[in-house]
Point group: C2
Chain length 550, copies 2
């Protein structure tokens, strides 16, 4: 495995040429007769506030530089020291205990980014807007942008030169149909270029990904051990949950350490042909991580941004072949076959331009996959499947086998249609479990007994109020209930489903149980259940039709 530098060398990102001269050197006008020249030098101070991916600078209201420079609260200022420069949003402070009149405070992220000792002399000035504000304004005005525009914007985003306001403006202005497919390709390409790009030095590097929105859909934790046991290279990095009750990284973290130094991760992949790690430390498509900080509170997920986000991460990770899962259902992200087909075509167009081999599968997204929703419950389901436990949820097992089969068929030596049987054999023989145990041991095993998972000790059950057939399970409401119960942060919290679509239930039968660790969480989720249980019960004719292309 070698590391290819992207278009940015991370070591020099903040060492840009300083195009401004120091004002004290170039001043040649008449001497200032009002006040002595204001020095713009301040002493650096770390202000221990975590502003979460937004650089914030703190200046005292009585700081001479603040008064002289005509700064305004929330304006962007530029901080320079040692040939580095960063931009930050200004907050004005009235308390010398936070920042003194001769100091510049930086929030934790910004302090780390500038990478200097406290007390180091820094110079501040009004920031020129990031270079890409021109293209951003063009996009706000509805214009089409070119490749260079996207590269400029994404570079500035990756370098944290955008405020939350500018990030949001970019996201909303590129929402919905605002990007044509060529622009989505430019955006993807720019996102890959903003970080590092791995090269595994193998012709076949496989991965799978789901567009999300289906609770419990932890197929990666089954597909990776199956295809790695088959010998395919599958360096799977996953995100934590953004708005859902568990991401693959959250669930895997129940079983093993997922925050690995990059070199360790690469070693595990070499030794075991696969891994199941959190991708955040690998600096792949770093602009995506910044954009997510705004997408999360808005719950935005437009097609163009989704395609660029997913494909840029996979390409940066060195994948050559990707199986992409698009679930479809009444409460899934994609709710109609025409929408699914439109999204499939956009993925295929961009993947083609980026030379990534892509196989899109459209799957059943009418209800959660598996029984458990929440990290601990989902880890239990995964381990039951790997152990060939009779209590294993069959939908999770079947879906994982089919996805693994499609990946196995990326191997040119495998005949189309044979992948599924190979995957099933690997699972049933225990080779998938053995591979999973190897990966868990390599990443750092945690204590977990899937027969007795340490679920949240507070719980309540929701029962059917009438007899009939389960005709609907609302993915969004079930995810919301699990989230209010504490998932994913509280790993033992979540929802355990006892009945799925098409099951016949009698009035009083328990539909699901909610687990929580804290009374307040339990009460929040109980109130959500009272508003809507998420279950529909009716006649068998009302069960929604399945649309799948798989």
């Amino acid at each position: 495995m070698t590391l290819l530098a992207g278009s940015q060398n991370p070591d020099t990102i903040f060492g840009m040429n300083d195009s401004f001269k120091e004002s004290t050197e170039t001043e040649s006008g008449p001497p200032n007769q009002l006040e002595p020249t204001q020095p713009s030098n301040l002493a650096l101070r770390r202000v221990a506030i975590d502003t979460y991916r937004e650089n914030v600078a703190y200046l005292h209201r009585d700081c001479a530089v603040y008064r002289a420079e005509g700064f305004q609260a929330l304006s962007k200022i530029e901080i320079r020291a040692n040939g580095r420069r960063i931009l930050a949003t200004l907050n004005v402070v009235d308390d010398v205990a936070i920042v003194g009149c001769d100091e510049l405070g930086l929030s934790e992220d910004a302090f780390v980014l500038l990478d200097l000792q406290q007390g180091h002399t820094v110079t501040v000035s009004q920031a020129e807007p990031p270079a890409s504000i021109g293209p951003l304004r063009s996009k706000l005005a509805g214009e089409r942008l070119g490749r260079d525009d996207f590269h400029a914007i994404i570079r500035d985003i990756a370098q944290r030169r955008y405020s939350k306001i500018e990030l949001t403006a970019f996201l909303v202005a590129t929402n919905r149909d605002e990007l044509d497919r060529e622009e989505v390709y430019f955006l993807t390409d720019a996102m890959v270029a903003s970080g590092r790009k791995l090269d595994w030095q193998e012709p076949l590097v496989v991965d799978k990904h789901c567009i999300g929105g289906i609770p419990g859909n932890r197929t990666s934790m089954l597909v990776v051990p199956i295809v790695a046991a088959h010998g395919l290279l599958c360096p799977k990095t996953s995100s934590r949950a953004i708005t859902s009750p568990a991401g693959t990284a959250d669930t895997m973290e129940v079983l093993a350490n997922v925050e690995l130094p990059f070199d360790k991760l690469a070693e595990i992949v070499r030794d075991h042909r696969g891994c199941l790690a959190w991708g955040g430390s690998a600096s792949l498509s770093p602009a995506d991580d910044v954009l997510i900080s705004v997408e999360r509170p808005l719950a935005m997920d437009s097609p163009g941004q989704m395609v660029a986000s997913i494909l840029s991460k996979k390409i940066a990770a060195g994948s050559t072949h990707l199986v992409l899962d698009i679930p479809i259902g009444p409460t899934a992200k994609i709710r109609s076959m025409p929408d699914a087909q439109r999204l499939r075509r956009l993925f295929e167009y961009v993947a083609g331009r980026m030379h990534l081999s892509l196989d899109v599968v459209i799957t059943d997204g009418r209800q959660p996959v598996g029984n458990g929703i929440g990290p601990m419950l989902e880890a239990r389901d995964v381990m039951r499947v790997l152990q060939n436990d009779p209590k294993a949820p069959d939908d999770l097992r079947q879906k994982s086998l089919r996805l693994a089969g499609r990946l196995i068929e990326c191997n040119p030596d495998i005949r189309g249609g044979d992948g599924y049987a190979i995957a099933r054999d690997i699972l049933e023989s225990g080779r998938a479990l053995a591979k999973m145990n190897d990966i868990i041991a390599a990443q750092g095993q945690k204590t977990f007994d899937h027969h007795h998972p340490a679920l949240g000790p507070l719980s309540f059950e929701i029962a059917a109020d009438v007899s009939g057939v389960v005709t609907g399970i609302d993915n969004l409401q079930i995810a919301r209930i699990a989230g209010l119960a504490g998932a994913p942060k509280v790993v033992g919290a979540g929802v355990d489903l006892f009945h799925k679509l098409g099951d016949t239930v009698a009035a009083g039968d328990v539909l699901y149980r909610v687990h929580a660790n804290y009374p307040a969480d339990l009460e929040f989720s109980r109130q959500a259940c009272a508003r809507s249980s998420g279950y529909g019960i009716g006649s068998v004719d009302n069960v929604p039709h399945v649309f799948v292309e798989f």
Copy 2:
């Protein structure tokens, strides 16, 4: 003058019914066997950070509530005390000097909003999203919103329930052609309802407004004394500069106090028929003030938002008749007659629905108005016109007389066409100056000698590099140069123009002088001039044509 409450009674805005029960009271699940129940009570602390119209809450990372509740950085939390509740964006703190483990810190704005003593017990919880997030998401998805949707969104914005991210999303999603004219009317109506509405108990309350973008365009400071001297009621409140080198409030502040308690302002209007005050303290259309905090950094100014912002302020201020100035020119906000006409029709439609009598004038926006750009320089120009000084800029004088004439014609006793002559007579007779002096004295006079204004002592001049005719003066570049020189914060800073469009100049003639107080400012403006002086010099045929409807 009486005060009409809007749809919100300001005293009870934050006293909404508490629909959540305290978690400690309602917990009825099995006892928590993991940890003792976490109290969610904390002691309130003011954190002296000015986060400029965004409520920010600070919790220590080791605070029991933070750990238990599964908060995430930048998530919204709800703070409750004494029947009040506010929302705030969470910043996580790692320094007990800023906020202790048993404390909740609030930024300055949020602390004022909650209006309790430090140390008061407060309860925090995960915030339900603001009620209007549903309509906001619909708008992000491109749907048309109804009256109730806009009222819900604007109410939440006025009550500071939106984060910067949500505010930006709303602004960008209602940008450009995203709002139809009915939606702009709903938005305007909602913005009026979000604050208080004045009723001056007179049939004719006049005002003038310009959509902005033309440096030096200080006609209000001439129109108000003229029409007030004529006897019309003209309670003019103005904003400070948002992105420009001076707003009317900034310029008036050179001559008089503009930050007046609302009762004092009303008294001045009763006594003198007019005022020239800053509008920020009157709580008129408060949602607009919040939205501006995001519009400013993005320099956004879409037609729908412009119409709603301007008309809501005027209607809330109790105006019955408005003359609206739309300047048109190559570097004005509006650059073509079709665009101006489209904007005029939108203003007229919404004004009609809101029962405001509106007279739109389309004026010459090819260049700055007057000679001075910056608070002190513009105040000088205004006083020269009022004093009938031969050095008074004729364009500022003529434009002001025509606007004043249109307002005077709102009086049903004045024949159409007679207004201009009446206005000129009021100005030439010195009655306008006397009225201005009355208003200045009533608001609180400042020392100002328009013969010897205290301009910034540092300066440089820009000379013509060729001989010819002035064929263009770039409003944006001149504003930028004045802003970099320190205007409006540094009142004596700015640009003094010596030549206007159509003037014949010889190579070496001084085109303008830049004034600054600080060497760094002077240098920034000098660099901007070096990139572009903002002046075009060519043949008389190249002077752009004037399009006006006036």
